[in-house]
């Protein structure tokens, strides 16, 4: 590959969030370049979602900064968000809207219109295999479908940066497989962050993994490197060793 020097699409520097006396995210820094799929791991409450919310510009950081394609998410939020596809925790959608209506709404707010809007919505629906339920209100759909509607919304404008909070939660094994294929297909031209509790997913789609515990970054390596840190060679064991209170083997 030619050595094209491109600044990282996601730059997180010393990001910190405190809620009163509680520090949810503590001085976290990392970059994600084009072509990388970053697996964001950590126990519940470790600060994964808060970090992602700060990256999306929804939660205001106490200190530090986050940039998307060079745009600071606090000082230049609209420009940063144009480059971002974000699936929030729990994949919220407007229940009374149809799948098509919801995606058109998101597309319009992203400045799409007319034939381009129809084309982009059609493409997103096809990618997430939502064609059969296009005209159904979101509230009538199962959990797996709702998650895919959220995913379709994030992919709609073909963003350079994708931040997906638990994209495969609630999907059946076949749907999980589909979504992983989809992420791998898009990986080459995007910078992607996915948070997940499924460690096999990290091995299946991620080029890099970050482990966060108690708000601190405790590991940043490729999944294979990470797995080697425990005699058993299993990511499960590494994860447990790093995130349990008496953590041994933390990097």
């Amino acid at each position: 590959m030619p050595a094209l020097i491109e600044p990282a699409l996601i730059e997180i520097a010393a990001l910190t969030k405190r809620f009163g006396a509680f520090t949810a995210v503590d001085n976290v820094s990392f970059n994600v370049a084009r072509g990388e799929v970053l697996g964001f791991l950590g126990p519940n409450g470790a600060g994964k979602s808060t970090t992602m919310k700060m990256l999306a510009g929804f939660v205001t950081p106490t200190a530090g900064s986050a940039r998307i394609c060079g745009h600071d998410v606090q000082s230049d939020p609209v420009a940063a968000r144009r480059q971002l596809g974000y699936l929030p925790e729990g994949a919220p959608t407007y229940p009374e809207m149809t799948v098509l209506g919801f995606l058109q709404f998101c597309g319009r707010l992203r400045g799409l219109r007319g034939a381009t809007l129809d084309e982009r919505v059609g493409h997103a629906v096809a990618m997430t295999t939502l064609n059969g339920v296009r005209l159904q209100p979101v509230e009538t759909l199962s959990k797996g479908f709702k998650r895919r509607v959220g995913l379709a919304q994030a992919l709609l404008h073909d963003p350079a940066v994708l931040v997906l909070d638990e994209p495969t939660d609630g999907l059946d094994p076949n749907q999980k497989h589909e979504v992983r294929l989809l992420i791998r297909r898009m990986a080459a031209e995007k910078a992607i962050i996915i948070s997940t509790h499924i460690l096999e997913e990290v091995e299946a789609v991620c080029t890099r993994a970050i482990v966060i515990a108690n708000g601190r970054l405790v590991a940043d390596a490729t999944p294979a490197e990470l797995a080697r840190r425990h005699p058993s060679g299993k990511l499960d064991d590494v994860f447990r060793a790093m995130t349990m209170p008496n953590k041994k083997g933390a990097a």
Partner: protein, 249 residues
């Protein structure tokens, strides 16, 4: 797309919001109750026929009170519902300025109230059928009614942004709107005047109902228009600040 504010984005938000009123029973229930209440109040309590006058004075005299009760019911879900569903995180991470979201939601609620008001046209037909009213005065009264709705809506929207709980949003906006509705009443101003006469005249000046009275008499005054514009502007600004401050709570 403009650098500081995109009208298009605000209208996209307004359109979705308005659509959601009609996708749920909210719109139908509100319009039916509004028309029924206005009908009963105007014809029965307002002595519409016995007065023997060709105007809509009884109709307009009840409008602020009916809005006082019903407008908080529209606005209570405006932001509280987004918060409950978690969609506020989706909405505010789209490439959209907070001011556009705030204005879009307000415009949707306002347009909805305007539709409800427009559906009172049978009153206007009735009075024109029975006599020869001054339609300019009636039109002016309608304009005033739209502004009263806007004023109450802007208060309600800000209250809705302050809480996740719709009941609290309803009660808070009802209370605040009530203060602005009765501020000019002698009972209130006399009470205030006992301790501070300056404050009493101030209370009279900030009252929504007092300003509305001018409109129902056909007096369209610039200072009243300025009053409503700044009233609505103030509460929308407050709404923006509250959303910004509390969006992730």
């Amino acid at each position: 797309m403009s650098r500081w504010f995109s009208v298009r984005s605000a209208l996209v938000v307004a359109r979705r919001e308005l659509g959601s009123y009609f996708a749920t029973p909210v719109a139908a229930v509100f319009i039916v109750i509004f028309l029924a209440l206005q009908g009963v109040l105007t014809f029965n309590l307002g002595n519409f026929f016995d007065r023997n006058q060709a105007d809509l004075a009884p109709f307009f005299s009840f409008i602020p009170w009916v809005f006082l009760l019903l407008v908080p019911a529209i606005t209570m879900r405006l932001w509280a519902e987004e918060r409950r569903q978690g969609t506020i995180e989706l909405l505010l991470t789209l490439p959209l300025r907070q001011s556009e979201a705030v204005l879009g939601k307000f415009l949707a609620a306002w347009a909805f109230c305007a539709v409800a008001l427009a559906l009172t046209f049978p009153f206007w037909i009735t009075v024109n059928f029975l006599g020869r009213p001054d339609n300019g005065v009636i039109l002016c009264g309608y304009a005033g009614a739209v502004l009263v709705a806007g004023a109450f809506l802007s208060v309600g929207a800000a209250m809705s942004a302050a809480t996740k709980n719709q009941v609290i949003a309803f009660v808070l906006s009802l209370a605040v709107c009530f203060i602005f509705a009765v501020a000019s009443y002698p009972l209130v101003t006399d009470f205030i005047a006992r301790s501070s006469p300056e404050l009493a005249s101030f209370a009279r000046r900030i009252s929504v109902t007092d300003r509305f009275l001018g409109f129902t008499r056909g007096e369209l005054e610039v200072r009243d228009l300025v009053y409503f514009a700044s009233f609505i502007g103030f509460w929308l600004l407050l709404n923006s600040v509250i959303v910004d401050h509390r969006k992730a709570d």
